[in-house]
Amino acid sequence: MTLSKEELEKRVSVLERKALREKKARQLAENQLEKYSLDIYEANQSLKAALAGSEQKQLELEYLAQTSNNVASEIPLKDMVSNIVELTAEFCSANYGLFIISEEGQWLTEKSPKVWSSQQGWQENNELKESIVGLLPVSDTNLAESWRSAQIDTPPLDENTPVNSIFYTSFEWSGNKIGWLAFLRPDTELQQELEVILNTAKEHLVSGIRRRLTDIRILQRNVQLQDSLSSLEKARRQLIQSEKMASLGQLAAGVAHEINNPIAFIRSNLEVLQDYLNDYKLLTSQMQASFKKDNTLEVSQFTEICKKVDLEYIEEDSEDLLQSNIEGLDRVKEIVDNLKGFSHSSDETLVETSLTKCIQAALKIAGNMFKYEHKVVNNVTTECPPILGNFGQLQQVFVNLFVNAAHAMEKGGLLTIDFTKIKEGVVVHVKDSGSGMDEETVSQLFTPFFTTKPVGIGTGLGLSVSYAILEAHGAQVTVDSKLNVGTTFNIKFPQID
């Protein structure tokens, strides 16, 4: 196909325009490509920055988490601080790290001065530690609020390790002491972002130290309290024993009398028995004389001799006297046994105890306080239920009450001991018809060293000790008293569970 010149020219111009469009399009596409490349590059850069940022954030979080773990853990305080020195040094890429304590502006040197280094970990190095501490304003007794940093002109010791700056902080330690953390780094300054993280870590550390120091103080206080408690307990036991001995002193005269009586009649009985023995000697000598003379003994003669010494009566009376002596000695033995049991300092365990027997035993000791003009009525029979108690201590309480009652009834009267069974346990009533007490006296009855008795009689501790004993038994005491009418002590013992 042939084209005319005109057609050819038209065709050429169409193709020229097309070629021009294609060229421009290519340029546009190339520009676009360049733009894409740039966009990709920038996106890459910002991704890299974001990645680095997130890696740094992750490191920061790890550092803070590990710091918190250490603070929250139960490891000893010094170990915790050491761990935090290590973590912080690693986190800040420090070459050296250390921890010291100062008091009144003076560094408290340790037995084994340790420094952490990135190459060797914790190592003992006094010289290095001294030179690092020399870089710290230890004499400054004001606490640093955050971290401080300073450039170092003359690096300490090891010239192979590049060190250009120190950063440090101080915080409250126990007492008036100040704790210091210090780190040496190759970088010349501490970046602000790093400082923010370090401040957070420091806050954790300070709160951890505070908690641990408080724990230690509480522990020490506990030990002290336990010591006080055990010495108080010891003093209480001694007091009970002393009071018992004191009341024994008051009872001594009566007890002596009680022992003297049987001894006196035993002695008199023995004197009579001595006479009877002489009569027997006479009888046998007369019988022997009769034998020698006649080689025999007439019945009538024997009867006469027997009558002469009144043998029948002697035999009869001797039996009575011996029996009386045995009884007398039994009485003495009983009194001595009771005294022994009473004065003995027993342990304080509570076991099933019979109030009936306890009251009887107390009466045996205190009974002689009551004279002929007194009457004692003990209605505590074996029907009184047992309680959980300590026999010796309860005996002491009852002796004390009986002695007080005797003192209150100097001119005679009636002591009645009764019991009432109630739902929660049993109440023992010790009632006297003595002088009674006014309200003020009743209100002070159980106060230590309070006494209405004249000097030399009573310690003023009897009832307060009794009260303490009863309290330990879970017993409650109430007192009804009326002047010139009498006093009743009501002791409520809890039931055995």
Binding site: K10, R11, V14, L15, R17, K18, R21, K24, A25, R26, L28, A29, Q32, L33, Y36
Partner: protein, 180 residues
């Protein structure tokens, strides 16, 4: 609209009616881009509509036919340009389902600002599939053409009709594809 559509439209027109005709279209259209299209660029939708309008006028065909023909023709072009994974489909319905979940995802990777139509599938049997075509460009006829192009590619025969069409006064466009 993405430049690839303009570049392909240029090739389509030149293939059918020659370079001179395309040159005359540009001369008359006076487009802001001056007809300098690249596949990596983005151009105003109006430029395409202007060009289609001129083709319709000069060749005396309907806009519907123009869109349909271009759609049918452009499928294989777009298909060749699509990422390798898009070539594994053997069935028209399978491909239509995958358009949104796969093809459009790939397109978005390269052209995050591309505005793509959405298909809402309404009913499907073994040989019929109807879906709601949603696009502010309202190129439903173009879409019909593309489905035909797709069927040519898979070797299937389909009939595509619109049970509802915005150009016919309906509120939406619903395309029904039936395998025959």
């Amino acid at each position: 609209m993405k430049g690839i559509v303009f570049v392909k439209f240029n090739e389509f027109v030149e293939e059918l009616w020659g370079e001179e005709f395309w040159d005359s279209l540009l001369d008359e259209a006076q487009l802001p881009s001056e007809g300098i299209f690249t596949t990596v660029g983005t151009y105003d939708d109006e430029e395409l509509f202007t060009l289609i309008g001129l083709v319709v006028e000069k060749q005396n065909i309907s806009s519907k036919d123009a869109q349909f023909a271009f759609g049918k023709w452009v499928f294989k072009e777009l298909f060749n340009a699509a990422p390798a994974g898009a070539h594994d489909f053997k069935d028209v319905f399978e491909f239509l389902h995958a358009v949104q979940d796969f093809i459009h995802v790939e397109v978005k990777k390269l052209n995050p600002d591309a505005l793509l139509p959405e298909f809402e599938f309404l009913a499907e049997t073994t040989n019929s599939l109807s879906f709601h075509y949603q696009s502010p460009r309202k190129l439903c006829y173009f879409c019909e053409g593309i489905v035909h192009g797709l069927a040519d590619h898979t070797g299937q025969t389909v009939e595509v009709s619109q049970t509802e069409c915005e150009h016919e006064g309906d509120s939406r466009c619903v395309l029904e594809v039936v395998k025959v």
